[in-house]
Assembly symmetry: C2
Homo-oligomer: 486 residues x 2
Amino acid sequence: MSASASLASGPEGPHALRPLLDTVLDALSEGARARGGPLPSGGPDAVATRVRDALGDVLPDQGDPNALHAVVRSLAENAADPADPYCAAHLHCPPLALATAADLAASALNPSLDSWDQAPGASELEALVTGALAREVYRGPGLHDPTNGAEPLQNGTGRGGEGEKTPAQPDALITTGGTESNHLALLLAREAHGTGVRLVHGANAHHSLPRAAWLLGLPEPVVVPAPAGTLDPAALDEALTHLPGPHGSLVVAATAGTTDAGLIDPLPQIAALCTAHGARLHVDAAYGGALLFSDRYRDRLTGLDAADTVTLDLHKLGWQPVAAGVLAVRDPRDLAVLHHRADYLNAEDDTEAGLPDLLGRSLRTSRRPDVLKIAVTLKALGRTGLGRLVEQVCDRAREFAALVDDHPGFELHDPPTISTVLFRPAPATDDAVAAVRRRLLTEGRAVLGRARINGRLWLKATLLNPHTHPDDLAALLKLVEGNTPR
Amino acid sequence: MSASASLASGPEGPHALRPLLDTVLDALSEGARARGGPLPSGGPDAVATRVRDALGDVLPDQGDPNALHAVVRSLAENAADPADPYCAAHLHCPPLALATAADLAASALNPSLDSWDQAPGASELEALVTGALAREVYRGPGLHDPTNGAEPLQNGTGRGGEGEKTPAQPDALITTGGTESNHLALLLAREAHGTGVRLVHGANAHHSLPRAAWLLGLPEPVVVPAPAGTLDPAALDEALTHLPGPHGSLVVAATAGTTDAGLIDPLPQIAALCTAHGARLHVDAAYGGALLFSDRYRDRLTGLDAADTVTLDLHKLGWQPVAAGVLAVRDPRDLAVLHHRADYLNAEDDTEAGLPDLLGRSLRTSRRPDVLKIAVTLKALGRTGLGRLVEQVCDRAREFAALVDDHPGFELHDPPTISTVLFRPAPATDDAVAAVRRRLLTEGRAVLGRARINGRLWLKATLLNPHTHPDDLAALLKLVEGNTPR
C-alpha cells in the first residue's frame, strides 16, 4: 500500500506522522514568508486565483505526492494570521501552540464521543473538564475558594446506573461554539416550557440567538432596546411586564461581551427581573466568559451564576483553535431532554450493564474530542496563567484606547470593558471609515473590524493577542491614519 | 511570557510547535504501549479512575509544565484505537496520517470560515472542494467522464457580485457530520415547503433524521417499514399515496449505507416514487457515499443524483478525522434560505464592494476549515487511491463473511453490501451475544458492534481499516469463539 495511505494511529502512527508534520511546519513557514504580512494582498480575486492555481485539479484520477505541502503552503500564504498584531478585527484568537499540539492527538486517535467504546478515555476527560468549567461558572463571582470545586464531579457524564450525581451539581456540554451553545440553550428552554416559549433579547445580542429561535420554530423574538450598547433594564422590565403568557414562557438572553463593543449587560439587574417575572435567563458569555479566570476581572461577571444556561467560547478569549464552545447548565436535569436512544450506540442492556451513555451530551452524533486541547490548556496554564493572558489583552486594549484618545486625528468611542476598542478618524464620513478598512484588507496590511453604533460607523480593534507589543499598537494607529481617504 | 503561552502561528509558530509535537508523538507512543491492545482493559470504572488520576486537578491555580505529555498519554492509554484490526464496531475510521497532519495546519492558523477576512484562502479552498464533491454526487452513476467536472466551479462560495454561477451547478456545504447534514437537509425542505413539511423515512434510517425533525419543530415523521433492512418501495408508495398535503409537503429520506448492516435502499425506485408523488428526496449516504470514488462500486449508488440533497461523511468511509461531513445540494438556490446578515461579518456595502459573504454556508458562525484535510486527501490519493481504499475494506468484509460462513460455529446474516458483516455464534441466545461483546470490551480485547435485526441480536463488524490483514480476521473470529458463554 502506498505511503499516502499510512494511518495516523496504531503502532506505526507516530512514525508515519513525524515526517508529514515536518512537511506541514515547513509549508506553514514558507507560506507565511510568501505572504509577508498579516493577510494576503490583492483582495478576494487575487487570493482566489492563487488558491486555484496552487490546488489545480481538486480530485485528479491519480494522486499527487506533493499535495500536503502544496495545499498547506497555499493555505498559509493566503491566511489572515491571527498571531499578527495587525490582525485585530474579530473574536478570532491566535491559538496557543500547546492547544494546537494537543489537538493533533485528537485528530490522530480520532475518538468519537457518541459511544463509550469509541472514546473510553476521552469521554471521562470530557466529564471531568465540563464539570470543572460548570463549577467555575456557578461558584459565583468571588475570588477562588480552594475548598469549593477542586474535586471531580461524581459521574459527570450524566450516566445512568449507580453513582448518579446529586441534582444540584451544575454541568456543561462541549459545543462547536457560541452559536451552537445559544441554540442548545433555547432548545432546553423550549423543551422545558413548550414550543410557545419566546426569546427576549437585547438589540445588542449576537445574531445567532434570533437565528436559533428560527431554527427551533419558536415565535418571533422580542427585541429590547440597548441604546448604550447594553440591554436596558427598564425597557426589559416593561417588556416582561407586558408580554403575555404563563410562568416560564419567556427566555431572556443577556450578553457578557458584545460582538460590537465588548460590553457586558447589567447581569444582576437582569437576573432580578427574570426572577421577578418568572422568566428563564440565558447569558451569552462567549466573549466575556473567560474573565472568570482573572481575579482582576472576575467580578465584572457578577450575576452570571444566576443564569439557567451560560454560553462560553474558549476559541475567543481562551486561545483555543476553533472549535471550543461550552454551554454551562445550572440544573443538570435540564439536559435530560437531550437523552436519546440508538440501539447501536447505547442499547438499554448495555447501559444497564454499566456502559456509559454519551448520546445525550450533544446534538451531534460523531463528535471530535475538542475537550482535549481545553484540558491541556487549563492544566498547563492554570488559573493564574490564563488569568494573566486575559489581563494582558485587556491591558493592551486600554493602552490602545489611550493612544487613540490622545491622538487629535482620532475619536475614541469609549474606554474598553474587555479588549475591544472602537475608534474612527475624527473628520471621516462613514463611507471613508468603511473604505479605509477595505483598503487595508485589500492591500494585505491590516485586518480591522467595523461596528455601527447609534447610526455611526466605527473601526473596531479586537485585541486578543497577548504577545502584541505597545509599539505594534502605535504603528497600527499610524497605518490607519496614513490610509484614511481625505 | 512563559513558554506555555507561545502561539501556534506567527513567525515563531512552527518553531514553538516542533518540540510540542515531539512531546505529543512520544506521549501517543507511550500511551499505546501502556494500553497494549485495541482498547483499555477493565471497563468504564477502571478507565475513569486512570483518567482522573492522570489529570488530577483540572484547573489548578498554578500551571503544570508536564500537562501536555500527561493528558495526551492518558488519552492514548485509554483510547479505542481505530487503527487496531480488532477495533471494528462502528463507522469510526482510522484516519490517514496525511489528513491528520493537514488538520494540524487548520488548528495552527485557525482560519474561521464566517468571514473572508478571517479565512481568505480557506474560504476559496472550501468553495473549490465543495464544488468538486457536489459534481461527484451529481454527475450520475457512470464511470468517470474527464470532460465533466474537471473545472472549478465559477464562484462556488455563492458570493454576491459579478460572476454569479449558473443556477444549474450543484453545490455542497461542509458540516460536522451526517447528523448536521441531515438536519440541514430537513431545514432546506422546511424553508422550501413550510413548517408543515413531513419527513417520511424507512425504519432503517439513521436516528438523526427523526431527531432533526424534532429539533426543527416539524410534525411527527412517518416511518415506512424496512423488513429486509432496506426501505420497501411498495410500502413507500402506499404511504405517499395516502398521506395528505400539497405537492412538496413530504420529504422522503432514503439511506445509502445503513448503520446496522451497510445496506443501500433501492434508490432508483424511491426516486421514481418521489417524482410521481411530488415529494422531495434526501439520501443519507453518510456511509455509502464514498463508493462514488470506486469504479467497481460506484454503480451501487445509481439514483443518488436524483436526490435534492445528499449527506456524505468522509470521517466514515473516507479516512478523515472527525469532523468531515458534507451536504450536497442539487439546486444551489435551495441554499439561499441560509443567507444571513450580521453587520460585523458581512455588511452590505462590504459585500457590494466585493468581499465574499460566507455566513450562508453554515448554521455555525466561527467555523474550523475541516475542508483542508479533505482537500489534501482528495489531491494526494486521487480518485484511484481513494477508490482502492474503498475496495480494500469491501474486500476484507467479503473475506470475513466467507470465514464466518465456512465456520460451523457461526451464523452469517448476509453477504456484505459495503463493509459491514453481521454474524453470531450459532447456538447463542441474544443475551449471550450481548455478553460476549461486553466481555471483549471490558477485557480490552476487541471492539465489536451489535445490531438487532428482525428481533434477533447480531454481532457487527464494520471493517474500515484498509490495513487489516486476512489473518487478523481469522484471529478476530477465533477470539469471539473463545469468549462466547456456553
